[in-house]
Symmetry: C2
Subunit: 307 residues, 2 copies
């Protein structure tokens, strides 16, 4: 096998209370990455479809991760890489994480899986760290491994998966404005008072417990954020109105996806979700703003071979 | 029925990562409280056995809680109260919480349970707040309701119970030194940097997940504290040595109980726990310090009628 095509899903990071620690992968959006063996040892990004991103191997999240992995394995093989992005970078759905995770996954598969999927995480993170200027794996983890992931520790890296009720459906609401991650990151407070921190980790406990017990009332109450939402939601047009619509339509969890501008709304009932979709569409129409809505389920696979 | 005797268990608060939000009740230690109806509307603490604590109704955690509850119910009945403390106040096992929880529970039972056990929490907290000069319910919640409890929110009060693996056993290690709660409280940092806070809530997620999945490796890794242990452990003689013994003997979770000086060590294996007990005893003997060891299981009942 000289060539492989994989899918690396988009993901929702933070999930309200879990700033920098919790994320989940979603179906339908992500990167399609094709990797082909070369005769030499070069890593060449041939084309990126759907986004303007650097092609240079030392500037591209995908190749930076692959390079770190190949060095670890002491393998000199080169690869041509084509990335097709099914969603925009800067939307808050972990675009760079999809590329970083997908790249190492594709090459590892093509090499006959010398590394476990879990082991790939550290190399994918190298790529993601380049893009976001800091290590945070709450997008990379879910994109690579699928499902609902918690980063328990960064040093050493330790991540675990929480099983999620089958009924959960995700509505992604993407108002087409650009929020630069660096700018959004700068808004985050550097310190928290102890009571705020305590309230945040109480909700994290509630979130994990709610998923285990399928307690949607607790889930909704726990997906509350005292860290990022207060400072970031103001940058997202219509945020409070969308939130109100979602909760009026029985959403069981709503917040900003990653650093925004995308928002996520969890539902257990399709009819309610459709009503919310309609009302959110009308809201943005009335504001004269572009909007992309995307219905998803949790992607439980993470990166997978598609060809 | 004019008289009732109840048992209100001792409890371990914080549980490592869950500062001010997580606690569990234990078997064998606690308050025995006898409440007897009077002909008038007075609340009289007749006797406190096992500790020197104020008998005045407006200075006693037990009667303060009862008074708040009776006012809510608009009931003018008076009660005589006798409290027998099976463990010392100031040991870090929620002594005031046991009295506060047990008082309201006993009177509510004697009145024919006009309030649910969950509803009693707010009145028990009134008592506890008087003793500790602030609202924190990670002792009162477990003592009243039993099991492993998480305070998801203080305002409004919202608490949930996490089921705990049957195999878990608790060793309480109480070096007989006095640590004043106020002094211990003053050591807690008023703010946390965002990364420390994040590491703390990642461990909270790990702790809750580990209990649900009976993953003891994760449990041990998650019962780690960046808030209280770093500043409080220095006040507890032998802390680091006890911790080393516990982990050498396969403890699946170790930390300070509440504000100390008691420590808790979780085990799944009785033989290991016995070995740890022996080595810890020898350690304190060699230091010439008093020590009380107490073996317990999680108390899943909370307050209960015993007579």
């Amino acid at each position: 096998m000289d060539s492989i095509k994989i899918f690396a899903p988009a993901s929702v990071a933070n999930v309200g209370c879990g700033y920098d620690t919790i994320g989940f992968a979603i179906t339908g959006l992500g990167d399609e990455i094709t990797v082909t063996k070369r005769g030499d040892d070069q890593l060449i990004v041939k084309e990126i479809i759907g986004a303007e991103l650097p092609l240079e191997a030392d500037q591209n999240v995908c190749t930076i991760g692959i390079k770190a992995m190949l060095e670890h394995l002491n393998i000199k093989t080169g690869f041509d890489i084509t990335i097709k992005k099914l969603f925009k970078p800067g939307s808050g759905l972990g675009s760079s994480a999809s590329s970083a995770a997908g790249g190492v996954f594709a090459v590892n598969e093509l090499l006959g899986s010398p590394l476990s999927k879990e082991h790939l995480l550290e190399f994918a993170l190298e790529g993601e760290a380049f893009a976001s200027k800091c290590y945070h794996s709450d997008n990379v983890g879910p994109s690579l491994l699928g499902g609902f992931q918690v980063i328990r520790s960064y040093e050493p890296l330790d991540i675990f998966k929480v099983n999620v009720p089958e009924a959960l459906q995700v509505l992604i609401i993407f108002p087409d404005v650009v929020i630069k991650t660096a700018e959004s990151k700068a808004l985050i407070p550097k310190t928290l008072d102890i009571k705020t921190a305590r309230d945040q980790w109480s909700n994290v406990a509630g979130l994990v417990h709610a998923l285990h017990t399928e307690d949607y009332t607790l889930l909704k109450k726990s997906i509350v954020d005292y860290v990022a939402e207060p400072v970031r939601s103001g940058m997202i047009p219509g945020y409070q109105e969308v939130k109100s619509i979602a909760f009026n339509r029985d959403s069981v969890g709503f917040n900003i996806s990653g650093s925004g501008p995308s928002m996520f709304a969890l539902f257990t009932d399709l009819v309610s979700m459709e009503k919310a979709e309609k009302e959110i569409s009308e809201l943005y129409q009335s504001k004269g703003l572009n909007l992309i809505l995307h219905r998803a389920k949790l992607n439980t696979e993470g990166c997978q071979v598609i060809d």
